[in-house]
Symmetry: C2
Subunit: 447 residues, 2 copies
């Protein structure tokens, strides 16, 4: 039986980053990743397979990174952890011994308990290249596609599946607006207009009561009684943590169904850590468990877990909740709390907003509009959230907002610390959205 | 004689932002800007007049912002401050009374004491639309242009003047590399390759000894004895603060020739504040005076000065030194200290570097390379600088680095706080340059 210093279960964003992190700080340890997939998909890239990128093979994490970091690989699904012997067994009959174990088993798509969900030509967003290649074939030959779920994944799939195809795409969302778990209403509405502008049919405030058809899907019946036809259906309503193997071995699971970890990413077994979608997330703000699964949270947790195996070096301050998407050529991003989320949590808030071209003068070629909205706590003036819509440079700007939230910067701090500006890269220093959104909030705080 | 609550001398980035800031927090004050220019140019946009933007008129700050903020305007050059009577006189014979005065008189181009500098067809980078319109005419009809000075301005002018023109452009820099006051050597070299790739002739390590020609420039003689021909010469070696009117009225000037201010941007006269290029800059790091003039520093100081006139609300933590430029389609940016600057100041440092596509997978259309280098203090692990080269999204990313420096984040902080990633907007979460550059530094700090 092969013995390893460190065994990592799972080879996607969390598992891979954890293994690389262990290697980074431990040049001499023997490290193994056990994963069920022959090829690992870039998780956030999955919707782009269906338009911009073109195929699952073009959206793979290259395994070369394993060799480069001297990380061994065993293909197989881990089915049993024996904590007493410190071994892991796979479905292929392999057994390996570990000194330290990192569980990064990720998540699988949720399927809602809808009547007819067992019919043919109904897909979920499985992180499996062969499965997605088959979905791609169906997208190419279908006429009417329905996507259940108007979150980031649903919107990205809708946008991509419309590209270069004569395909009717309808998104069905049960909340009053798409993207409503991420953005406040005005940003949701702008996002909806963008996706409608791409030719996508949006149906909000409707629940799918039944998926119809004989053996194969031919449409859905909605809560209003309305029907929508479809020859292809994709369910993108979220994911659930893969915790079976952990639970079976007596690892503690929290009330949300995720592997319980402490702030050092350690489970109740001192030799077993967890990170990524399978493990508990806590809020940056109140340190309570939250439902947030993002690859960028997974990799942060992996960098924490991977650094703590032999010595406690890093602690998890919690998920800020920083994410971005693109509809057409427009970026939408959020960090921290939304206005509605902050109010629901009892915060008394001030919002500052600034909007303008992302180049200066605005007549610069390639200039786009960029709107930034920042949310501050009244009294302290500390930033607790931000949202933006517009230029693609917003994909990096949202991380500036995330950094400001992480370091609890005040509106005055943001209005007065020096940010660089350049005609071809940003708004002018007089009109820079970050500074001015903060100023708008300070004004309200002062007057 | 007209009486105002607040008079601002200067209407460019600093003066305008100061006046808007005063208005923001003082709805009822009577505010006047006195400026010498009929039209105010966007200062950082000036090089772009000569290529991308096309004319001075397309690079103006719209005066509509004055009306919108109920700020009055008086055209004329302020020539005298009478501090006893609290009045300002202009060259047009106007005299106005102030309660609070903000000096934002900016800077003018430096002309080096070179033999022949008085000849015809020699230009500087004057912030004057008519003067620049005349330079634009000369650029259009010249064959051989020499730019003295290989800093940001020189490189930007060279790149722009080459666009859509059959013009030979040579940049002459006396230091061993262009951009050397901003970047470390490897970044300078990459910048030089980029500008050479645009067809610009670079001459480094050479001083201009004489500008030759009869009445009109026909070339230069260099320190090596070599000559370079030219029918147009532009001097872009920097600017000097406009302090004449302040000095004449007894306002204290510092050893670098800038108006002395305290951390609240107040001069030695309690009713007179200053901001922008005309006033003293201090370093964020050691709070000592530094030579750094940027529009983004000017506007920050303006937001501090404008908020402090009637009540001390904000203090200046000093200039971090965050700036960016573009050569061709490549962004170059820096924040905080360079490696050489940090070493010269006695810091013991660790540098972390990460490079990769700014989209994921790298095959995404529009993907470019982005290299990020972060500089940390050994021992504390606190970030003190960063440099980047590559994708234009770096223009916002440099401000994240600036924020990290401002809040004294450690390499561990940067490696583990959550930053959002998206296929079309950033590197993958596994390879995100900020996190990985920090990790590379942590590795060196730990091992």
């Amino acid at each position: 039986m092969e013995e390893y210093d460190v065994v990592v279960l799972g080879g996607s964003a969390a598992g891979l980053t954890a293994a690389i992190t262990v290697r980074r700080f431990n040049p001499d340890k023997k490290i193994l990743i056990i994963r069920r997939e022959d090829n690992v998909l870039i998780p956030c890239g999955i919707p782009y397979i269906f338009g911009t990128v073109g195929s699952p093979e073009k959206n793979l994490v290259p395994d070369a990174v394993l060799g480069k970091n001297n990380i061994e690989l065993l293909i197989g699904e881990a089915i049993k952890i024996n904590r007493e012997n410190k071994t892991v067994e796979t479905d292929k009959g392999d057994t390996v011994k570990y000194d330290k174990l990192i569980i990064a088993t990720g998540s699988d798509p949720m399927v809602p308990p809808i009547k007819g969900a067992e019919k043919e030509n109904i897909y979920t967003v499985k992180k499996d290249d062969k499965y997605l290649a088959s979905l791609l074939l169906e997208v190419d030959r279908s006429r009417d596609m329905i996507i259940i779920g108007g979150g980031f994944i649903g919107m990205e799939f809708a946008d991509e599946c419309k590209k270069n195809r004569d395909l009717n795409v309808s998104v069905i969302e049960m909340l009053p607006h798409c993207l409503m778990l991420v953005f406040d209403e005005d940003f949701c509405k702008q996002g909806e207009e963008l996706i409608k502008g791409r030719g996508v049919n949006l149906i909000t405030n409707e629940r799918v009561e039944e998926i119809t058809g004989d053996s194969r899907v031919d449409g859905v019946r909605l809560s209003s009684g309305k029907t929508v036809k479809a020859d292809l259906l994709l369910i993108g309503i979220g994911v659930k943590p893969n915790i079976g193997i952990a639970e079976d071995s007596g690892i503690v699971i929290n009330e949300k169904g995720s592997i319980k970890v402490d702030r050092y990413m350690k489970t109740n077994d001192e030799n077993i850590f967890a990170c990524g979608d399978c493990c508990e997330k806590i809020s940056f703000f109140n340190k309570k468990p939250v439902n947030l699964m993002l690859a960028s949270i997974a990799t942060n947790e992996a960098r924490i877990a991977g650094a703590n195996l032999y010595e406690t070096n890093r602690s998890n301050e919690g998920a800020i909740g920083t994410y971005s998407t693109v509809i057409g050529d427009t970026a939408l991003a959020r960090s921290g709390m939304s206005i509605s989320g902050a109010k629901d949590s009892g915060y008394d808030i001030i919002v500052g907003m600034a909007e303008g071209p992302n180049c200066h003068p605005g007549s610069m070629p390639g200039s786009s509009n960029l709107k930034v909205s920042l949310i501050f706590e009244k009294g302290t003036g500390i930033i607790i959230g931000g949202q933006l819509i517009g230029a693609k440079s917003g994909g990096e700007l949202i991380n500036l907002i995330s950094g400001c939230i992480y370091k609890k910067m005040t509106a005055d701090d943001i209005a007065t610390f020096q940010m660089g500006t350049h005609p071809a890269l940003t708004a002018s220093p007089v009109a820079y959205q970050m500074s001015n959104a903060a100023e708008m909030a300070v004004k309200e705080l002062r007057l």
